[in-house]
Amino acid sequence: MDEQPAIIQTVDLVKVYGSGDSEVIALDGVNITINPGEFVAIMGPSGSGKSTLLNILACLDRPTEGQYIMAGEDVSGYSRKELALIRGRQLGFIFQSYNLLPRTSALENVMMPMMYVREDRLSMHERRNKAMEVLESVGLADRSHHLPNQLSGGQQQRVAIARALINDPILILADEPTGNLDSHSSYEIMELLHGLNDRGRTIVMVTHEPDIAHYTQRILQIRDGKLASDKKNGKMPPRPQEALQATEQEVSA
């Protein structure tokens, strides 16, 4: 059986900001391989370079040196436009602050990325149906016409997850997805991500909360721009179910 190419493969990734005296080495030779279907947490103290790494993995930024090969495609030297096309076609983003468009319904927020798809474009009607399906899968079918300010933080993040899923990305990147949420909502989001991973989605998330990272399969520790450790959580990562039930009891009590 042929191995599928790794979703993420970095070779001696270096990122340097500024030049001369003010030169800052954010990444200093990082080698990572992430295979399809993995659920990975990137951890590290602030200033460690984990955000820089995520930005490069997310094709939002380009490495100064080294290679980033994404699903067999070397994107290190891509232009801004080419990177934008890759992001639209293959990546889904989840942000700490949700980043939903204000004054725009949940449904339309989910539909937004489809606007930038270039091939196999769907009709407006098909897009609406697809967005409804994805909203349903994150449990927000009944909130599709609500505006972001009418939704709770957890609900907004679920809309954002639906938006990340809408173009069937090969990789989902999340930057502190639970950073703005209370613990109950955090577990809900983790449960949702877990479910996606169960159905084969590859997910890479940055977090600084160990109990959140605990629910992933693999934890990468970044320190001073280098990969400090790469630990597997074991074959069957624990599900956040129990924690969820525990907080639900708290809420109802």
Binding site: A58, L60, G88, Y116, R163
Partner: protein, 412 residues
């Protein structure tokens, strides 16, 4: 991302800020409307002028004396005072062929009274019996004065239509005596309506033999000193005659009489075509001036659009970052903001065209000025608005497109 969606997205974004969009458009609306109204005013003025020139009468040659050469009393001879004298007219009449009529005009201003009714500041036109022929005017009642009356300095007068109506109403004016500057004149005729031609209302003037003006009505010592000098000689050339040849003959004749060389003529000759050309160049510069004024207001409207688009780019930096993260290329972002600017200017253009047409119509209706809406002004102003949208939308759109997605996403 296709154009239909771009337009829809741009529309939604403008709708989410209705008041701001409207105020921004206002600049363009005013600019476009100003272009249309200004051009309609100048076109209306041109139409009025060209009608007036056609009403002057056909094939006219206007000879005016110029006082700049020598001035009064410097030269000796027939035209000692410079300029034109009454006898120049007689000479033209006697010696030049192919002319239908010659007349002179020397006017003064006077109060005209009849039976207690007084009209002040009435222009008294002193002329010759050829006047109605040359000026293309008809006599409605009675007759025009004749050569005998001219030679004898008879105290007769022909009234313009409005003067006759104001002084006499329903009474028959023929044979009545009116008092003009203390001189009693007998009314012999009333002219048919002629109206306003070249800024002169022929119906509010009265007409006497020029000799009467010279001898009886000259209001002061200076005018008497000026004697029989005339301001203007008007020659009506036969329809089939060679205009240039007649002008040449008149020039030679008057140069000889005035004892001047062809290089230093003390008079000037203009034809109707010259007058039309002068008027056209005047109205053309008038129109250019108006177009500039209107253009500047359109420009200000464009700057307003640029201003608000720059604000919008700053306000929506996070949105731009998000759109970039979800696959929008720099080109997509540029098109999005450019289409918002375009929509502001095009919508402003449409409203401006409507306002301009309404404005031109109302202006023509409620003011003395006439307005003519020219289709090209609508096309021009609307086209300029569209170009302004592209031009002033380009920089903000460029700025948005060049945002770094990471920086944009972190923007607070």
């Amino acid at each position: 991302m296709n154009l239909g969606e771009q337009v829809k997205t741009a529309w939604k974004s403008l709708l989410s800020n209705k008041l701001r969009s409207l105020l921004t458009m206002l600049g363009v609306i005013i600019g476009v409307a100003a272009v249309i109204v200004m051009i309609s005013i100048s076109a209306g003025t041109e139409a009025t002028i060209s009608e007036a020139i056609n009403g002057l009468g056909s094939n006219l040659v206007f000879i005016s004396g110029s006082m700049s050469f020598g001035g009064p009393g410097v030269r000796m001879g027939t035209a000692a005072r410079g300029g034109l004298v009454y006898d120049d007219m007689t000479a033209i009449k006697d010696k030049i062929n192919n002319i239908a009529g010659v007349t002179v005009e020397q006017s003064t201003s006077a109060t005209v009274e009849f039976n207690g009714t007084a009209l002040e500041e009435i222009t008294v036109v002193g002329s010759t019996p050829d006047y109605p022929t040359v000026r293309d005017m008809k006599v409605a009642i009675g007759r025009f004065y004749n050569t005998r009356e001219l030679d004898r300095i008879s105290k007769v007068v022909v009234l313009g239509k409005d003067v006759a109506e104001q002084l006499f109403g329903d009474t028959d004016p023929i044979g009545q005596t009116v008092i003009v500057s203390d001189i009693k004149l007998t009314v012999v005729g009333v002219l048919a309506a002629k109206g306003l031609v070249s800024g002169v209302d022929f119906d509010t003037q009265i007409y006497t033999p020029i000799t009467v003006v010279f001898q009886k009505l000259s209001p002061n010592m200076f005018a008497r000193f000026m004697g029989d000098s005339v301001r203007q000689i008007i020659v009506s050339v036969n329809e089939d005659a060679d205009m240039d040849k007649v002008i040449e003959q008149i020039t030679l004749l008057l140069a000889k009489r005035h004892e001047v060389t062809l290089d230093s003529l003390d008079f000037s000759i203009r034809t109707q075509e010259d007058i039309i050309a002068t008027q056209e160049s005047t109205t053309a510069s008038f129109r250019t001036l108006l177009a500039w004024v209107a253009g500047v207001s359109l420009l200000v409207g464009g700057i307003g659009i640029m201003n608000i688009m720059l604000v919008s780019v700053t306000e929506r930096t996070r949105e731009i970052g998000l759109r970039q993260a979800t696959g929008a290329t720099p080109g997509d972002i540029q098109v999005q903001f450019l289409s918002e600017a375009m929509m502001l200017s095009l919508l402003g253009g449409v409203l401006g065209v409507l306002a301009g047409i309404a404005g031109a119509y109302l202006f023509g209706h409620f003011s003395e000025m006439r307005t003519v809406i020219l289709p090209y002004s609508v096309a021009l102003s609307f086209g300029s608005a569209a170009l302004i949208g592209i031009f002033f939308g380009f920089f903000p759109a460029q700025k948005a497109a060049q945002l770094d997605p990471i920086v944009a996403l972190r923007h607070e």
